[in-house]
């Protein structure tokens, strides 16, 4: 390609960037009143950047184009380092609270990250394995969190009583949603799940006598150690964990305890997900993802298989919800909006659909990013939106994808 067409291409890109930037970046509307300020320098920068970017991209030889390479190789091959990396990660997670640089805030943050990882793994079963896009996953998260918070508020049930029950309730809600809609095509299903997520949020927000409305529920109890609360002082007739073990009370203990419970649950979920992929039902999920018509021809019932994926995924979301409520001490509808569903989906997509380890990395990055400052938090969703597009274009199987088939015709 000569210089003239390259320059023409770049000029066109600059023109498009100019047209994109002029109305929205060029004029900033005032927050009050009818005023506005102009920022034509931003428009010039956008157009200049597009011109330079297009020109430089044109200079890159064709064989280095990312898309050309991605066509040949869809993902990093699964290698022997993965199990070792996983084990190292587990060891690090176990030791984290006792490491010298550790603090209460850090352990608390790690708990948040673990909850996101759990949610990612849960959504991954539906999106990554069964190939069904769920845009309302936060609804199941909300069912878990609210069923714990409300049962504790109205009936005085404890964390350990509600953990299995909340998971069960979330699974039932998954089945209730799934039964009528699982016959639908993939993209219709996505929109219906989105609608379901919004319905749950709107009901939680407006059914004030039961759910507390926008204020939510405030008195969510903390998990106890075999019935003994971890606290400085206990109500009459109750032995605290600290009295029993003759330990001085330290708020760090409570945070650490929740962290370890969360970690244990996450490890169980991980083990469960890895195992179920090798069971007939797990294989049926992946087969269904690849070709539904072929599955039906082989005598599999797509509806029951999809329903099982939906229910298990919802159950994991429900567990994560209980941990969320126990950590925060309160729940409110705003924690379960579409933004939250999109964030969890971003974890699954960025981590590589079907990859357990990738989801851990994506979940940790996503949960810790807001801690690096408000400015970064503002750009977080912008970045994730762009990253989701970029990954679909260049690495549709995710960054760390190890979506190797769980069964091979020629075992290595």
């Amino acid at each position: 390609m000569g210089w003239a067409p390259r320059l023409k291409d770049a000029a066109l890109a600059a023109l498009v960037a100019f047209a994109l930037a002029l109305p929205l970046a060029g004029f900033q509307t005032a927050d009050t009143g009818q005023g506005f300020t102009t920022r034509f320098d931003w428009v010039a920068i956008a157009a200049g950047a597009a011109f330079a970017g297009k020109l430089l991209l044109g200079l890159v030889p064709r064989r280095f184009h990312l898309r050309q390479r991605a066509a040949r190789r869809t993902a990093l091959p699964e290698n022997q380092a993965m199990p070792i990396a996983g084990a190292a990660l587990v060891a690090f997670a176990v030791l984290l609270p006792v490491l010298p640089f550790s603090s209460r805030a850090l352990v608390d943050l790690a708990t948040v990250a673990l909850i996101y990882v759990m949610l990612g793994w849960g959504l991954n079963i539906v999106v990554g394995l069964a190939g069904l896009l769920n845009l309302g996953y936060a609804a199941f998260y909300a069912v878990g969190a609210y069923s714990f918070a409300l049962a504790a508020h109205w009936y005085g049930l404890t964390f350990w009583e509600m953990l299995p029950l909340a998971g069960l309730l979330a699974a039932v809600s998954g089945i209730l949603l799934g039964l009528p809609v699982l016959r639908l095509r993939g993209d219709y299903l996505a929109i219906v799940t989105l609608g379901f997520g919004e319905i749950v949020r709107i009901v939680l927000n407006n059914w004030s006598p039961v759910t507390g409305g926008p204020n939510g529920v405030n008195d969510v109890p903390r998990p106890t150690f075999f019935g003994m609360p971890i606290a400085a002082r206990a109500p009459e007739g109750v032995t605290t964990f600290n009295d029993f073990f003759h330990l001085a009370y330290n708020p760090m203990q409570r945070v650490m305890f929740l962290y370890y419970v969360c970690l244990a649950a996450a490890l169980v979920i991980n083990w469960f997900s890895l195992r179920i992929r090798r069971l007939p039902v797990g294989r049926a999920w992946e087969a269904l993802r690849e070709d539904e018509i072929a599955c039906r021809a082989l005598g599999l019932n797509p509806t029951t298989i999809k329903l099982s994926a939906f229910a298990i995924s919802a159950m994991i979301g429900g567990f994560a919800g209980v941990f969320f409520a126990a950590r925060a001490g309160f729940v409110s509808p705003e924690s379960f909006n579409f933004q939250e569903s999109a964030t969890i989906l971003a974890i699954v997509v960025l981590g590589g659909m079907g990859s357990q380890l990738g989801i851990v990395l994506a979940g940790v990055v996503l949960a810790t990013l807001p801690e690096f400052g408000r400015d970064l938090a503002q750009f977080r969703m912008l970045f994730f939106g762009a990253a989701m597009v970029a990954i679909m274009i260049w690495r549709p199987r995710g960054f760390f994808s190890t979506r190797a088939p769980s069964v091979r015709l020629d075992p290595p």
């Binding site: 498009v16 047209a19 994109l20 002029l22 109305p23 929205l24 970046a25 004029f27 900033q28 509307t29 927050d31 009050t32 009818q34 005023g35 506005f36 931003w42 898309r67 999106v127 190939g131 896009l133 845009l135 009528p180 809609v181 639908l184 095509r185 993939g186 993209d187 219709y188 996505a190 929109i191 219906v192 989105l194 609608g195 379901f196 919004e198 319905i199 709107i202 009901v203 927000n205 407006n206 018509i293 579409f338 999109a342 989906l345 971003a346 997509v349 503002q378 750009f379 969703m381 912008l382 994730f384 939106g385 762009a386 990253a387 989701m388 597009v389 679909m392 274009i393 549709p396």
Partner: protein
């Protein structure tokens, strides 16, 4: 009775706006078979460009309403169309032939990106615009309740019907419309017969975005308050309208849009209005369960 009539008027005006957005969904779905999830954000961008257009024209001293309205309409359609074109070029075109969920995930990413882009450059505050066209007339008076119809509501319904007629004519009569219908039926065959498929798809997105911009302008004038988040709900409702009418069908999109507008208006009029969105989502789920091809759509045949 008068109250019923008032809700009918309000519902039709609201439904006309949904119909304009729904046409964009239905055209794109018809031609490339994907839900353009970012379409709601395109509508939101159209609303912002309209608002900025009014402010800038006001500052330039162009205050004669018909001229200002026409200029803002053209500016908003033009600039928003560039957004529609760019979204298709960046996020969807490279994914043609990728795996099933890829375009949908890319569209969701684009939607999140555009929403936060507007949030960052225009701020999270609600933006207000004083009424551009005010006044109206009383349709009927009964029992101390006057049924009001504003000029704006008339304009909204009129513009929607005019655009609807224009686009139906375009699809039926012009070479572009023929190319669109051919691409919709079989992309490969259309390409073999000399149709520039890429260009046809791009133009479909451009037209959809321009119509969404008109809807954005109408919302800005009708409600006078917009923020970066309006695209999400409007997008889902317009999509519901497209599905209700039968996705892929242009008259269906308009019918669905009007029905959704009426459902919303009547629900707000007679039931607790906090649950009006629930009513719309419930309609979506029920339609997909019992009549997935919609009111005017053709049933879909699954091919191996």
């Amino acid at each position: 009775m008068a109250y019923f009539l008032q809700q009918l008027v309000n519902g039709l005006a609201l439904g006309a706006i949904y119909a304009l957005i729904a046409i964009g969904y239905t055209m794109v779905y018809g031609i490339v078979g994907m839900i353009n999830f970012a379409h709601g954000e395109i509508f939101m961008i159209g609303a912002f460009i309209s608002l900025i257009g009014f402010l800038v024209l006001g500052a330039l001293g162009i205050t004669w309403v018909p001229l200002a309205l026409l200029l803002v309409l053209l500016l908003a359609m033009g600039f928003t169309a560039v957004y529609g074109w760019t979204v298709e070029r960046i996020a969807y075109r490279p994914l043609r032939g990728s795996f099933r969920l890829a375009p949908l995930i890319s569209a969701i990413g684009m939607s999140i990106f555009l929403q936060n882009y507007v949030l960052l450059i225009q701020g999270a505050h609600e933006k207000t615009l004083p009424p551009v066209i005010s006044g109206g007339f009383v349709l009927m008076q009964s029992g101390g309740f006057a049924v009001q119809v504003s000029w704006l509501q008339l304009i909204i319904v009129g513009v929607t019907l005019a655009l609807m007629a224009a686009f139906t004519a375009m699809i039926q009569l012009t070479p572009l419309g023929r190319a669109q219908r051919a691409t919709e039926q079989d992309m490969t065959m259309a390409a073999l017969l000399g149709i520039d498929v890429d260009r046809t798809i791009s133009l479909t997105f451009v037209i959809g975005a321009a119509l969404a911009a008109v809807a954005g302008l109408m919302v800005t004038m009708q409600y006078g308050v917009i923020d970066f988040f309006i695209g999400f709900l409007a997008g889902v409702k317009a999509f519901t309208a497209a599905v209700l009418g039968g996705i892929g069908s242009l008259p269906g999109a308009v019918l669905g849009g009007l029905l959704i507008g009426l459902i919303e208006a009547f629900w707000s009029g007679y039931f607790p209005s906090e649950y009006k969105d629930v009513a719309v989502f419930a309609v979506l789920i029920l339609v997909l369960m019992f009549r997935p091809s919609g009111l005017l759509g053709r049933p879909e045949v699954e091919k191996v």
